[in-house]
Symmetry: C2
Subunit: 233 residues, 2 copies
């Protein structure tokens, strides 16, 4: 049995807590980051709080092995005196949407092999995809995730705006959006690229620009240039 | 029985042909757009050729009802003397990837209700999601599709580049990419937005910019601005 203490009751903390409740070989306790006067003992303490609070929260913990769950905070930003690590799940968590942990990549980091093995056992109790990832590699993943998640979602927003402005149901695009995402599992994004920009289809590009407002036109032009010039703006 | 003639042997033509072969109530013939000397008779003639070739190919057809499959060509660009329509499938087709037509939205347009009903029967023989869409609405969908498919795929390419440059497996991001795409089926893109830009997390934004090359930095700055300023550049 490995005892896990979860600190934080936000999205990540709550989803993790529910998953650990049903996991074999794990006992789990959850406390709020606002109430750190009595911190229970545990084999593994997982701090699931906002990036800015990690240093302060960790400084108050005396337990043996303390990890955070952030994609952009270094292992060295943990301020506990005991052993450190990172338990980063590269996924987008929403309050109301169930998480399928078997699909979530766990990016683990520890200071020694025994601690790494503990993190691995805990991750495997709820998940399947486990990767040893250094703080430097995690930075890379985090910034790449901003492109493929945050910025992509903003493109969805623009697509939604265009549909709304012209009274066309955005749901017609859902299937294309999902297919675009699935396609790169079998084909590289480079080989998946289609559309007027890569085809140099000037006529369609001109037609499209006429349908857009000024800001949308700017974004359209930027991406057309990026796709045609190999990312040179 | 409705007889369908498919003109064109590219991605769209080939996937449609295979689907119609297994469809109830449909007989299908396929010919190449390069060989239009003997055009077979058919109830419905579907021209699945490149946008630029639609006018010329359609001008050679004497069959009763002629439709094209393009997202960006007007119904009026068909140059047959008989009745016209559009049979547009809003999906990305790849040569080597099987198409699940039950997931593909069929955007149909015709000049009269009887022809629309014919198109609907043909679409329903292989698909489930059928929408009556005017040429104007189709233009809207097509330009929105460029944002959510072509431009999104380019963001995947940048994510892949960042991973490659830093020797991190891009596959770690696949699950996030699929989840980002699925999320908007239950939550609007506006409500789905997460990340350092929307949080105004200046520290993370600065860290991220330090990890990127000059062109990637520009794109990162543009999106951060778009997300923070409601699409004003």
């Amino acid at each position: 049995m490995i005892s896990v203490l979860l600190i934080g009751k936000g999205n990540v903390g709550s989803h993790l807590y529910n998953a650990f409740l049903n996991a074999d070989g794990i006992t789990v306790t959850q406390i709020s980051a606002r109430n750190l006067e009595n911190i229970p003992q545990a084999d593994l303490t997982i701090i699931a709080v906002s990036d800015d609070a990690i240093a302060e929260v960790s400084s108050k913990i005396k337990n043996d092995l303390v990890v955070h769950t952030s994609g952009s905070v270094s292992i060295n930003d943990l301020k506990n005196d005991s052993r450190k690590g990172v338990f980063y799940m590269l996924q987008t968590f929403s309050k109301d949407k169930k998480v399928d942990f078997s699909e979530v990549p766990f990016c683990l980091e520890a200071e020694n092999i025994n601690d790494y093995k503990t993190l691995e056992i805990v991750a495997k109790s709820i998940g399947k995809k486990i990767y040893p990832i250094s703080s430097e590699q995690r930075n890379t993943l985090h910034v790449a995730a901003v492109f493929v998640n945050n910025f992509t979602n903003h493109l969805y927003k623009i697509g939604n705006d265009i549909c709304k402005e012209n009274k066309v149901p955005f749901e017609i695009l859902h299937s294309l959006i999902k297919e675009t995402a699935s396609k790169i599992e079998t084909l590289s994004p480079e080989k998946s690229q289609t559309g007027p920009a890569i085809r140099n289809d000037e006529k369609t590009i001109k037609n499209h620009l006429n349908l857009l407002d000024k800001n949308q036109q700017e974004i359209y032009k930027i991406f057309t240039k990026l796709i045609q010039n190999g990312d040179k703006l």
